[in-house]
């Protein structure tokens, strides 16, 4: 029988249609019913206006959109024989603010999604510590605004580099905010200092911990989330960064990738019109986001250990998100230390009205690859295509060829399936741009 469930507070809403037998999900489809049409809004606008418009696709990952836009613009310049070489300094500062946005995203997932949903599944009426997520994120936002001026919705990345020209006062201020966050996170969320946490080798290391993070780990095991939520065990990373490189993984075997093979198709949603499109790589569905990046990274033996034991279960996926948060926070300080403030912030670029052609910008957003493809004539947008990570994970397809989220929800109860759905960290606004 088909049950309709509205899922709320996923940066918007979505409707899931579950086909169950004996109380367990056999298949499902997902429908995203809102549509804004940012790609249409961008048509015929001057190209640089996209730097202001695309961050407004999403309130929680607008920065990733900004970076995808600026990368697409710089790719366009390259394809029109006006290659731009941005300085290392600009590259690193862009990377730093992107990383910080990923960190606040994962922190919010822990406190606004993971903990409350796990308690609900266990029928525990625990008084929420949600606002820890808001407080921690506000510190991260301060670190971002040292360079970006504000968060959310900054446009400090422009063709040629960045608009800010920081001094050591700024760099050290940003570092101080990161340290403030680390103190807060260690005390309020981890229950142990981050170096010790990153040295964990297996799930057993959580046994002596008593914190919000260890609670999540415990509840995931108690709810048998390590035996559920399996997707295709296929992963993809497309954004090129200092903290992750493009590749695809079939289980643990790594292969090269190229974003040009990403295509989209209309959702299969027979019960309700959906405006979301599924994203495919060479006609297959791949999981994107935290688990993909942690699987491909050399830094994370523990996530690979978890994968060895529990494959791409909801447990592994959730724990990967927590570990990525901690790795990135630690890495961000190294990044700040490596910045040479004497390099130029922004190089001069040819007047955009002289530029025509196409460009692609790919970024690892919190939930996975974000792709912006542009077609420009004399500095004016002819066509703008945006493909978001939730389209990779939470597509809606047929029972015979399910997307990662669809596959992951098979065999659970509806209540469990809703949680498993959220372990992919859904962003409704991005999907319905």
């Amino acid at each position: 029988m088909i049950t309709k469930q509205l899922i709320e507070q996923i940066e918007g809403e979505a409707t899931l249609f579950f086909d169950t037998k004996d109380g367990l999900v056999e298949s499902s489809t997902t429908s995203f019913e809102n549509f804004r049409g940012v790609e249409n809004i961008l048509k015929n606008k001057p190209l640089f206006d996209a730097l202001v418009i695309t961050p407004r696709v999403c309130g929680i990952c607008g920065h990733a959109h900004l970076m995808a836009t600026v990368r697409a613009i710089e790719d366009l310049y390259k394809n029109s024989s006006h290659k731009i070489d941005i300085s290392d300094k600009a590259q690193k500062i862009r990377e730093f603010t992107l990383i910080m946005e990923i960190v606040q995203n994962h922190l919010k997932w822990i406190y606004f999604t993971a903990l409350p949903e796990l308690f609900k599944l266990k029928n525990i009426d625990k008084n929420s510590t949600q606002l820890k997520g808001a407080y921690g994120s506000s510190i991260i936002s301060k670190a971002i605004s040292v360079f970006a001026g504000q968060w959310p919705h900054s446009s400090y990345m422009v063709a040629g580099g960045i608009t800010c020209d920081p001094t050591y006062v700024d760099i050290l201020q940003a570092k101080d905010y990161v340290d403030q966050f680390i103190s807060f996170f260690e005390k309020e969320s981890l229950g142990v200092d981050i170096d010790k946490f990153l040295a964990f080798e297996s799930c057993k290391d959580f046994n002596n911990l008593d914190s919000d993070v260890s609670t999540i780990e415990k509840l995931l095991i108690e709810l048998k989330m390590n035996e559920k939520g399996f997707a295709h065990d296929r992963f993809i990373i497309l954004g090129e960064h200092s903290f992750t490189k493009p590749s695809k993984l079939i289980q643990t075997r790594k292969y090269a990738v190229n974003s040009k093979y990403v295509t989209t198709e209309d959702s299969y949603s027979p019960n309700s019109k959906s405006y979301a499109k599924n994203a495919l790589y060479k006609d297959e569905y791949y999981e994107s986001g935290v688990l993909s990046r942690m699987m491909s990274s050399k830094l994370s033996p523990i996530v690979k250990n978890m994968h060895r034991r529990y494959k791409d279960s909801a447990y592994t996926r959730s724990m990967a998100r927590i570990f990525e948060l901690v790795y990135l926070v630690k890495y961000s300080k190294t990044l700040l230390d490596s910045i040479n403030i004497f390099e130029p912030s922004c190089v001069e670029v040819t007047n955009i009205s002289k530029i025509s052609g196409t460009g692609v910008g790919v970024v690892e957003a919190p939930r996975g690859p974000l792709i912006h493809r542009i077609d420009v004539e004399n500095g004016v947008i002819k066509d703008y295509e945006i493909i978001t990570p939730t389209q990779f994970n939470i597509g809606s397809s047929t029972k015979q060829k399910p997307t990662p989220a669809q596959k992951a929800m098979v065999g659970s109860t509806i209540a469990e399936a809703k949680f498993i759905f959220k372990t992919f960290d859904v962003c409704s606004v991005c999907t319905t741009h």
Binding site: L6, E8, Q9, E11, G12, E13, E33, N34, R36, G37, I41, K45, P46, F48, D49, L51, V52, I53, R56, V57, C58, G59, I60, G62, A90, K108, F112, S128, Q130, L131, G133, A134, Y135, S138, S141, K142, I144, S145, V146, F147, A148, G149, Q150, W151, P152, H153, S154, S155, Y156, V158, G160, G161, T163, C164, D165, F342, P344, S345, C346, V429
Partner: protein, 313 residues
């Protein structure tokens, strides 16, 4: 530009509440930017404790949005985020119906963000059916034109968390909120984004910035900075208690004004090298006279680098 005078629109306080006032946060077409901006409010926990949150897109709520759409509840403060669209349904229910129902009993309706205030970016989804709650750009309009006496516009893209914090705290403390003609609190929107910009001296002496990414120069002449024409407190009440757009060399895009977003946001529109728009309330003649004189003088300190690292050897 609509001229400002202390308007007849003031929001007056209800009598003291016995229990916690109910706060409901609903959306039209939105990116959730205002919701996330609000989460950055310092001391959010203490503020939120004073309310019963019926529904919020992110925070713990006493009801689901689905329950809210049944229109059986009521609220004291209704917050609306995103562009209003007559054709929009969320959770299968018309947003217009939900808005109409909850506006009735609400003592205060707050349009957070420029989309809800004037239409903003997402008005461009469908210009004929999308608008703000009381304004369509700079013209008065339904849906809430009849109830504009209880509407406050907190324009901005997104809204600054402290501006919303101010309105909610004022409500709790029964403080009168004075509004301008665009229904924005005068105490937040009377200053210009220009006030407090760290590049002011470059503006005074007409030293334009040669490119992005430099500490030196004013962004008004070539990089399209709208700060002298934009009502906001961004350079007085800093973002994230840390900075602002212009302080990091990004031009102000005028996001609190009804005409946001404009076109060619990173360029100053000039006619024969003369800026098309001059600061609010200043006549072109006055501005050009001053500018002409200032431009005549070459102040060496202002034309060189702000920090000369070489002398520190």
């Amino acid at each position: 530009m609509i001229t400002k005078n202390l308007s007849q629109q003031t929001y007056t306080m209800p009598s003291k509440q016995d229990k916690k006032p109910k706060l409901l946060w609903i959306q039209g077409h939105s990116c959730n930017g205002n919701s996330h901006s609000f989460l950055n409010l310092p001391n959010l926990e203490n503020l939120i404790d004073n309310f019963e949150v019926i529904y919020h897109p992110i925070l713990n709520s006493t009801h689901s949005y689905q329950e809210v759409t049944k229109c059986k509840l009521n609220c004291d403060i209704l917050i609306f985020e995103g562009t209003f669209d007559y054709n929009l349904k969320r959770a299968d229910i018309s947003v217009y119906e939900v808005l109409k129902h909850y506006t009735q009993d609400a003592k205060m309706v707050v349009a957070v963000g420029s989309c809800a205030s004037f239409g903003g970016i997402f008005k461009e989804i469908s210009p004929e059916s999308c608008c703000g709650l009381v304004f369509d750009k700079d013209k008065l309009t339904p849906p809430l034109i009849e109830q504009k006496g209880k509407v406050i516009n907190l324009s901005g893209c997104p809204v600054h968390p402290k501006w919303l914090g101010f309105v909610l705290t004022a409500f709790l403390n029964e403080i009168k909120i004075y509004l301008d003609e665009q229904l924005r609190p005068v105490e937040l929107y009377s200053s210009l984004a220009h006030h407090g910009c760290s590049r002011n001296e470059y503006f005074e002496w007409k030293v334009d910035s040669k490119n992005f990414g430099l500490k030196e120069g004013c962004l008004y002449y070539e990089q399209g900075c709208r700060a002298p024409m934009t009502h906001s407190s961004c350079n007085k009440i800093l973002w994230n208690e840390t900075s602002s757009k212009t302080r990091v060399g990004t031009p102000c895009f005028g996001c609190t004004e009804p005409d946001f977003p404009r076109k060619n946001l990173f360029t100053t529109q000039t006619n024969m090298s003369i800026p098309q728009e001059v600061p609010v309330g200043v006549s072109k003649r006055s501005y050009l006279t001053m500018a002409g004189i200032a431009k005549t003088f070459h102040i060496k300190r202002l034309e060189g680098k702000l920090i000369d690292y070489k002398t520190t050897d």
